[in-house]
């Protein structure tokens, strides 16, 4: 079995990831995916590049815990989380979450739960290069509030 978690510099292909989730998996009729990409602006700043730093070891551990919690809460089948690191340009893919389930409700809920917790617990940091120079992004209070809605 391929790993559920991948932290990588290289890009990924949505079709390949979904094919792996569906391979030899005729029981799960529902597949929900989330893909996050670099937007061209953030609070009226024209973004050119994002640089993603992470904490090797803790990243994998925190994502594994989030996935394990999702599997306890919902009846889901396979899960894949990919997060890219390094320098990423506008339009490039940053993150992928894929979840399969017999029930679409569980696939939607587990996928959103994993994204919400990834946002506030997984040790990644974004530095933005824009027309206003270079700066570390601030965490959003709305992300913290959104994650707390699951508890």
């Amino acid at each position: 079995m391929t790993s559920e978690i991948s932290i990588q510099h290289q890009d990924f292909a949505l079709a390949d990831e979904v094919a792996l989730l569906e391979q030899d998996n005729a029981t799960d009729g529902a597949v929900v995916t989330f893909t996050g990409r670099v937007r061209n602006n953030n609070n009226d700043t024209e973004v050119s590049t994002l640089t993603l730093e992470h904490y090797p070891g803790m990243t994998e551990k925190s994502l594994a815990k989030i996935i394990a919690t999702a599997k306890e809460r919902w009846d889901i089948g396979r899960v894949k989380v990919i997060h890219r690191i390094g320098a990423l340009k506008v339009g490039e893919q940053i993150v992928f979450v894929g979840v399969t389930s017999k029930h679409r409700k569980d696939a939607f809920a587990a996928n959103e739960f994993i994204m919400d917790y990834l946002k506030v617990q997984a040790p990644f940091w974004k530095k933005e290069q824009s027309d206003k120079g270079e700066q570390w992004l601030d965490a959003k209070h709305s992300d913290e509030a959104k994650a707390q809605q699951w508890s």
Binding site: S62, K119, W125, W136
Partner: protein
């Protein structure tokens, strides 16, 4: 020995990726913050930011969390991935 690591804006502000501390006299994460804060005004300010997060052996913990020889203790700002 306790290995201490810093990430993102914290690493840049302190101009330090990691350092090693003798573990005796250090029983909690807060003790480490206190000892490092004595280094300079910059360290004092950075490590006492209300939003500072800490992890011990890759688990997010409160400042009251115990530390012991062999632990890896990390300090970093709120995360912004995804």
């Amino acid at each position: 020995m306790i290995n201490v690591v810093f990430f993102a804006a914290l690493r840049e502000q302190l101009d330090c990726d990691s350092l090693t501390l003798e573990s005796h006299e250090l029983s909690t994460v807060a003790d480490i913050i206190k000892q490092l804060s004595a280094r300079s005004e910059q360290w004092q300010q950075t490590l006492n930011n209300a939003s500072l997060l800490s992890a011990v052996n890759h688990d997010m913990v409160d400042k009251s969390h115990p530390v012991k020889a062999g632990d890896e203790v990390a300090f970093f700002p709120p995360v912004t991935g995804g």
